[in-house]
């Protein structure tokens, strides 16, 4: 197995809610709750889940953009939360983020050249002619033209803006990239361009991606690259599924689609309408909605919506199945396939 790039260990982030006259903490949003996984070098790890399940918070804590409540993140063996600010700043060269909303993540008062050049200036990577040469190189790399350099964000289309965001992320020569829903705000026909660009860049620079999305089809596309295994050996692209702050399943892409173990993953996959096909009778329709992370259900967080965890007799305290009582742990049920469900032991 190849080297571990990022190791996330029992990562937890609660956002406090203040209320009452004295503004004391009255509750907490359990955004990310004890999540552990690792990302290998050169791998694309897809993180999927419905809105509000903590995907974005997880990515922010993983890059130490916000501090965690508990847990550790190790980047190439170094614990990010034990580093001083100066040390962290140096490490930030190697990690970059591509943001969700290309309209909001670009400063409207800066030109393309300023935006892409800013990381170069901040990290002291290049100045003067060298800086300019580097900006042109980056702009070309993402498929924009040098004559675009002195334009402002509003002069670009959504797809072009996302390209600028990618160019900025590439400026510091990162090794690890977090792409948080990079195509969800783009038009269908533009999505393909950005996804292809991300793939090409990975092939060229050997990036490690954490690819976050709610859209299983694009995640599958990004995390299933067994066709170009020749470039990176032992590369194993995987998908992690989150539900209300918890990791419920983690497995290689092929495996998770062929053999989903968690009832939630199964329902999620079956819920996706497939172009050109009428809905099958086998579709699993989940009841209810995602619970609020302020007061997640006890035991397995999925149990109120799970078809397999119906209490035998809801009025009897002793007949409650284990699902509503004990939180299942993420365990390896077969090689490389982790699942957090009491039914799979």
């Amino acid at each position: 197995m190849s080297e571990t790039m990022l190791e996330i260990n029992n990562l937890t982030k609660y956002f406090p809610i203040y209320g009452g006259v004295l503004l004391r903490q009255v509750a907490a949003i359990h955004a990310v709750d004890g999540v552990s996984f690792d990302i290998k070098r050169g791998e694309t790890l897809g993180l999927v889940g419905e809105s509000g399940c903590g995907k974005t918070t997880l990515s922010r804590v993983a890059l130490r953009l916000i501090e965690p409540t508990a847990g550790a993140v190790r980047y190439l063996g170094r614990d990010l939360f034990k580093l001083s600010n100066q040390e962290m700043r140096k490490l930030r060269l190697e990690m970059a983020m591509i943001f969700q909303d290309p309209y909001a993540c670009l400063n409207p008062r800066m030109t393309l050249a300023d935006i892409v050049g800013e990381p170069l200036t901040i990290h002291g990577l290049a100045r003067g002619e060298e800086r300019k040469r580097r900006i042109v190189e980056l702009v070309k790399k993402v498929g924009l033209a040098p004559f675009h350099m002195y334009r402002y964000p509003h002069e670009f289309s959504g797809g072009q803006k996302q390209r600028i965001g990618i160019a900025r992320a590439l400026a510091s020569n990162p090794k690890f990239l977090v792409a948080d829903e990079p195509v969800s705000s783009l038009d269908v026909s533009v999505r393909a361009q950005i996804l292809n660009l991300l793939e090409d860049l990975q092939e060229e620079f050997g990036f490690t991606y954490l690819y976050i999305s709610h859209d299983l089809s694009t995640v599958k596309h990004m995390c299933d690259r067994s066709h170009d295994l020749s470039t990176v050996k032992h590369m194993c692209d995987r998908i992690a599924v989150m539900y209300v702050g918890k990791l419920v399943e983690l497995a290689p892409t092929k495996e998770i689609f062929a053999n989903p173990q968690h009832p939630y993953t199964e329902a999620l996959i079956s819920a996706i309408p497939i172009p050109g096909r009428r809905a099958s009778e086998k579709r699993i329709i989940l009841k209810g909605t995602v619970p609020t992370p302020i007061d997640p259900p006890p035991g397995c967080r999925f149990n109120p919506r799970c078809a397999f965890s119906q209490p035998f007799n809801p009025r009897c305290a002793f007949s409650q199945p284990i699902c509503a009582k004990k939180e299942p742990e993420l365990i390896e049920t077969r090689k490389g396939h982790f699942v957090a469900c009491h039914l799979r032991k």
């Binding site: 299983l216 299933d224 819920a271 309408p273 050109g276």
Partner: protein, 267 residues
């Protein structure tokens, strides 16, 4: 500068209906489900009163009857405890629930035609599956026709009998489900289908449609897709192709398939 065309509804009206006649049709025989449920509900009125408004406008009903009707329709779209929830404000509903309320409002007057503009775009996939299931069941129960507008080809496939593909203000192709997905004819439809990542088949490399959608202030002459089309011929930039039936029930507006261009037909 708009050109007037008569839109026939039920083929009963052959003159342009007056505004007051139209008001009877809107929300009555033709109802619409809007894209964003949260912004199509009025935040300062309760969900129940907003549904009541539609019923009051179109039907002669006593107040108690209206309340009964609201409860009935809310429970039909799957809102738990409708008697209590009808007095809630929209912000107390989740996205999926608000969409159900909007659907309930549209159905409250038994429409003959339901126009659904991206009804699930803002919803999570598991909630989307619930709403699609609901719309299918309601179509069966109420026997209404649905015009489903959307960009998600998966969602479209779920509900549609026939599919029409639009590009830059023009209809370019129309057929039944299999016609569009198994035998797409228009180069735009073909490219669109190859540019989306699929769950069911392995996508090696996504197809890219070069360029961007043209501005409609000055659309390209001839076929509006020709600047981005890999099969573009001379005639494409000169004359606008007409929708022609080339296969049974399969119409397409493209010179690759019209009779005066036989050499290309065998493609």
């Amino acid at each position: 500068m708009w050109k007037e065309h008569v839109v026939f509804f039920n083929f009963e009206v052959d003159t342009r209906p007056s505004e007051s006649e139209m008001r009877k049709v809107r929300g009555g025989d033709i109802a619409m489900i809007f894209q964003n449920p949260m912004s199509s509900l009025n935040p300062v009125f309760t969900v129940g009163s907003q549904i009541a408004e539609a019923i009051e406008l179109h039907q002669d009903a006593e107040k108690s009857e209206i309340v009964k009707k609201i409860v009935e329709i809310l429970s039909k779209v799957g809102i738990p405890n409708p008697t209590e929830r009808m007095d809630d404000y929209p912000h107390e509903y989740s996205g999926g629930m608000a969409q159900r309320a909007v659907i309930a409002m549209a159905l409250s007057c038994n429409p003959k035609l339901l126009i659904a503009d991206e009804p699930t775009t803002n919803l999570d996939v598991t909630i989307q599956a619930q709403i699609l299931e609901l719309m299918k069941a309601l179509r069966k129960d109420f026997g209404a026709s649905i015009l489903l507008i959307g960009h998600d080809l998966g969602v479209i496939s779920e509900l549609s009998d026939r599919i029409a593909v639009m590009y830059a203000g023009k209809l370019v192709e129309s057929s039944d489900l299999d016609g569009i997905f198994q035998k797409p004819m228009h180069p735009y439809t073909q490219a669109l289908l190859e540019s989306i990542p699929r769950l069911d088949v392995k996508t090696e490399r996504l197809r890219i449609i070069p360029g961007t959608v043209p501005r409609l202030i000055k659309p390209p002459p001839g076929c509006r897709f020709h600047p981005r089309c890999e099969h573009a011929m001379k005639i494409c930039s000169e004359q606008e192709p007409q929708l022609t039936e080339v296969d049974k029930g399969h119409t397409v507006a493209c010179y690759l398939y019209t009779a005066n261009n036989k050499s290309n037909r065998s493609r």
